[in-house]
């Protein structure tokens, strides 16, 4: 049966939280493994192992920080609506900043007589992702 917010049980919620609690360390570890594979494929073992080590440190540092900081704990537990809103706003700000930089760099590349790659593709991905999210969220809310 499809669970909705109305039919979701406490067990469902707790299981969801258990998964969410490990999301940031898991993403850090996955990114580190990605760096490892990319570095080894690119014949740059120093980058590969440094990248993996750095991301493991980031993941562990987040777990340690979550024991002392209410904000970090909120980002880990995802129970606090205010922290979740702050996270969403910060994510929007970061995404907008990246998109602005991509657009600016696209213009710089075109002005230098280039075709704008790879910034044109990055900008297109950002635009399409926004429209898809807009339509998706429009039907969910």
């Amino acid at each position: 049966m499809r669970t909705t917010p109305e039919t979701r049980t406490d067990t469902d919620r707790n299981e969801g939280r258990d998964v969410t609690r490990w999301a940031v360390p898991a993403v850090a570890l996955l990114a580190g493994l990605g760096y490892l594979v990319a570095g080894l494929l690119g014949d740059d073992p120093r980058f590969a192992w440094f990248g993996l080590g750095l991301m493991v440190v980031v993941g562990v540092a987040f777990l340690v920080l979550a024991r002392f900081s209410e904000t970090a704990a909120g980002l880990r537990d995802r129970n606090d609506e205010r922290i979740n809103q702050i996270d969403a706003s910060a994510t929007t700000f970061a995404g907008s900043t990246v998109l602005l930089v991509v657009i600016a760099m696209f213009m710089v590349e075109v002005a230098r007589g280039q075709d704008g790659a790879p910034y044109s593709a990055l900008g297109a991905v950002g635009g399409v992702a926004y429209v898809v999210a807009l339509v998706w969220l429009r039907f969910r809310r």
């Binding site: 209410e70 904000t71 704990a73 909120g74 129970n79 606090d80 609506e81 205010r82 922290i83």
Partner: protein, 61 residues
């Protein structure tokens, strides 16, 4: 909301734990920096065994 909490001798951390948010969030609500969602407002009202209007009208007056 601060009055309702302090009359009961509760800390912000205790109240936050009771309704599932952080101490910082309770503080932000009490200082008017954060407007809680309807579910959180209802949870706070239920915790104090009163109405949403009673919990929040002092803060927004």
């Amino acid at each position: 909301m601060r009055d309702l909490r302090t009359v009961r001798g509760l800390s912000q951390a205790h109240l936050g734990q009771a309704v599932g948010v952080s101490r910082q969030t309770i503080n932000s609500i009490e200082t008017g920096k954060y407007l809680p969602s309807l579910p959180l407002a209802l949870a706070l009202a239920r915790f104090f065994d009163t109405t949403v209007e009673e919990v929040f009208h002092e803060d927004h007056a």
